[in-house]
């Protein structure tokens, strides 16, 4: 039964009520008499969650392929804003699904994506605000089965006590198997929950903490072998609220052939698989017609690596620019961004900003992280970009890299200063007012399943010292610098390589008020200091060097052997090995 009548009186007094309305173009009505009811949750607000492509894919799959025959009903679930949560808790209103505004607790399956480590406390808020028992082992027959997925599931142990199961890898088509197993168990008889978990444990790539022993189990990552022929989502929801990435997102390629040693997405999504230019152009035009949106984004981990990217952008611009619809690429590689492609990208309806990730300021550092790009390539690309009309450039860097010296940190400032001088040499004085160079510097957080998984993470004090060094070395004028919160990076690092002993710490931090921690204004290290003290857990042990003989908490999660597997590579390697995974298929 819809709870909207209890929510509506709150809407005029909370921020952005459009978050809670549903009724967007493309949203599906829940199926009243479905055998199994599924909620797909992103543990953040609507504006962030609605942009998540993985949930869009799964929603489309369930809404189209199974909802049609009324066996499965699918709805979206997001975490309300802080103000709405307070109002709901004060009035004992439980978390609701968006489509039906029904209590989440009444669902059969709650799938929660785990986007990053700092969302862990928000996941606990989702579960508790729903009125669902926090610990999976204590859940009753009338409570949903909670399944985790996404990047955070690749080291599930810190969150294992709160989930009934995890799906490891790409669930594009496997979601059908998971939902069907639960449906069959539910249709069979009473005691369906335990039966469903036993059956789920038999599904490839599903990890059930209550059944699998992490010391002996091997849960192999699922990948979609035939990505090229997988139909892109047909159902696009057009939000009313101004969401992040408010555009049609079309995945043109999956996986990244580059071998950046810090990157977790590389091993998670290999091998590289492409959709054809014809498929992409057809799907993009269809999606723009269906939604009326003003931008289509060609997404992937490294979209300029697509073998037909120039042709795709040209064909789309030809059809869409006359209707003031623009084409964008969110992730560009410096070495594959040709002047032809830059010209095509700026010939569309809007003049986009250019985001590049040199990651480090010196060649020595770039070789250590295997970022296969030179300073000459970077400056040449930026010169092209200024020539064809780009005026807004964003550069991403990292500090806290292995074997990094203060000279390497100053190298970032020197490189940025060269970009600034280049802008002044290239751009006419009357156009320099539009120039904006943004520099974003994050601390390295070594992640599970990467070549850096056994590396020590820089301390908070060391990161803050390097941030100060960088701030002093950067040109004062014309540069906007943003840096990450060193304390937040440290907590991210602890959780990223954590084990099950961290579960009580996460719970204690959440109980003391930790929530929406990816937002600088919400993060408070005091919650975590209190939690570590209460649970008598030493966070430093988790960010220290792991010896080669140490068993890692994520060893039961297997990335699937392939030519792209990077196990055994030395983290201390200082040589660039180039595009190592490019030939994998």
């Amino acid at each position: 039964m819809s709870t909207f009548s209890t929510i509506e009186p709150l809407l005029a007094s909370v921020e952005r009520p459009a978050r809670y309305l549903n009724h967007e173009f493309g949203a599906r009505a829940p199926v009243e008499e479905a055998d199994v009811r599924v909620g797909l949750c992103y543990p953040d607000t609507y504006e962030v969650g609605q942009a998540n492509q993985a949930l869009q894919i799964l929603y489309d799959r369930l809404a189209h392929d199974t909802q049609a025959d009324a066996q499965v009903s699918v709805e979206r679930v997001y975490l309300p804003g802080v103000d709405m949560i307070a109002e709901m808790r004060a009035r004992a209103i439980p978390l609701f699904t968006l489509e039906g505004h029904r209590p989440v607790r009444t669902l059969d399956i709650l799938g929660i994506t785990m986007p990053h480590e700092l969302a862990m406390t928000s996941i606990l808020e989702v579960i508790d605000l729903s009125g669902i028992t926090l610990h999976a082992s204590e859940r009753g027959e009338d409570e949903p089965i909670i399944i985790g997925g996404g990047p955070g599931a690749f080291n599930p142990e810190p969150m294992a006590p709160f989930f009934d199961a995890f799906f490891i890898g790409e669930a594009d088509t496997a979601i059908d198997e998971v939902v069907e197993v639960v449906r069959q168990a539910k249709m069979a008889a009473t005691g369906w929950r335990a039966a469903a978990l036993i059956e789920l444990a038999e599904v490839a790539s599903v990890y059930v903490p209550a059944i699998h022993d992490p010391a002996h189990a091997r849960i192999t990552r699922r990948i979609v072998d035939d990505f090229a022929s997988l139909e892109p989502p047909r159902c696009h929801i057009v939000p009313y609220a101004n969401v992040v990435h408010d555009r049609v997102a079309l995945e043109i390629m999956r996986g990244c052939g580059r071998g950046c040693r810090f990157c977790q997405a590389g091993p998670m999504y290999r091998p590289v698989r492409e959709r054809s230019a014809d498929t992409i152009v057809r799907a993009a035009i269809k999606a723009i017609r269906a939604t009326g949106m003003e931008e289509v984004s060609l997404t992937s981990l490294s979209s300029t690596d697509h073998s037909q990217i120039l042709e795709i952008v040209r064909r789309l611009n030809t059809q869409l620019a006359p209707r003031a619809v623009s084409v964008s690429i969110p992730s560009v590689r410096i070495d594959t961004l040709s002047i032809d492609l830059l010209e095509v990208l700026t010939s569309g309806a809007k003049k986009p900003a250019l985001t590049l990730a040199p990651e480090a300021g010196t060649q020595r550092m770039r070789d250590i992280i295997n970022k296969d790009v030179t300073e000459e390539q970077l400056l040449e690309t930026i010169r092209y970009a200024f020539d064809v009309g780009y005026r807004r450039i964003k550069l991403y860097f990292m500090i806290g890299l292995p074997d990094e010296t203060d000279e390497d940190v100053r190298g970032i400032a020197e490189l940025v200063a060269r970009v600034y001088r280049l802008a002044h040499e290239t751009i006419e004085p009357d156009q320099r007012g539009a120039l904006k160079i943004a520099v974003s510097v994050n601390a390295l957080v070594p992640k599970a399943h990467t070549p850096f998984e056994r590396l020590a993470q820089s301390s908070v004090a060391e990161i803050e010292r390097k941030q100060t060094l960088l701030r002093e070395a950067l040109p004062r004028k014309g540069i906007v610098l943003s840096t990450s919160n060193a304390h937040a990076s440290c907590i991210e690092g602890v959780l990223a390589r954590g084990d099950r002993a961290l579960a009580p710490v996460i719970e204690a931090a959440w109980r003391s008020g930790a929530l929406f921690e990816a937002y600088a204004e919400q993060f408070d290290i005091a919650h975590w200091e209190h939690a570590f003290d209460t649970c008598a857990v030493d966070p430093d042990a988790y960010v220290a060097t792991r010896n080669p003989s140490d068993r890692l908490p994520w060893e039961h999660i297997v990335m699937r052997a392939s030519c792209c597997e990077r196990t055994g590579e030395s983290a201390e390697s200082t040589e660039s090995t180039g595009d190592e995974a490019g030939g994998c298929s």
């Binding site: 005029a12 459009a18 009724h23 101004n242 209707r323 003031a324």
Partner: protein
Amino acid sequence: MKAPLEFRLRVAYAKEGRGAYLSHLEVIRALERTVRRATLPYAITQGFSPHMRIAFGPALGLGVASRGEYFDLIVTEFVEPTRARARLQDAATDVLPVRDCAYVPPKDPSLNAACTIFRYEVSGMPLAYTRIDAQTAAISIEPILILEQKGKMREFVTADVLPEGVVQEGETVRFTIRASSQATLRPDTLVRYLLGDAVYAAQAPTLRTVRTEVLTENEDGTWQTPLGQALCAGGIS
């Protein structure tokens, strides 16, 4: 150079149900997307950031529904109004349904300038609350109303801003507001005046405010809908 062919299509739409909680910017974005889905031949601006040539009428407050709002769309080809209306209706969402459309003279004043008369209906008012009767009576005789609006005390000439007074029928009050070149009276300001601060604060979450009509005022003082002088009307849907 020959000027490009252009037509000004005026579209009437409603903001219904949950749509009341959409902000003006959210409504604008949603209706621009409706126009694109309807595949109307909309004109686009020239310049650094080309966008659809569309202009909206006076904004509605958050939480206020409406039965009659308008936007003007410049199109580069003549599309027969009934066809344009049908395409817009197919493309619209249920909370922002399109009601009607018609071509209007290209040189007419903008909707923002022309629409000055707004009829409202507020339901969920308390019954047998004598203060409302007293305040309604005061409005009918007081030449000047001094009301707090957005933290400032504002002076309103009663006959100008409330040309039809305030009428209560059961739980509903109805009134018409005329926009002013100074501060325009907001419906929530008037309702707060009718109820008093304490009762207003308690009742506000359950009050339902609907803008029932948006009208233009002719030089002779008569009122008409913004589609009133249509060149080629789409008929009533």
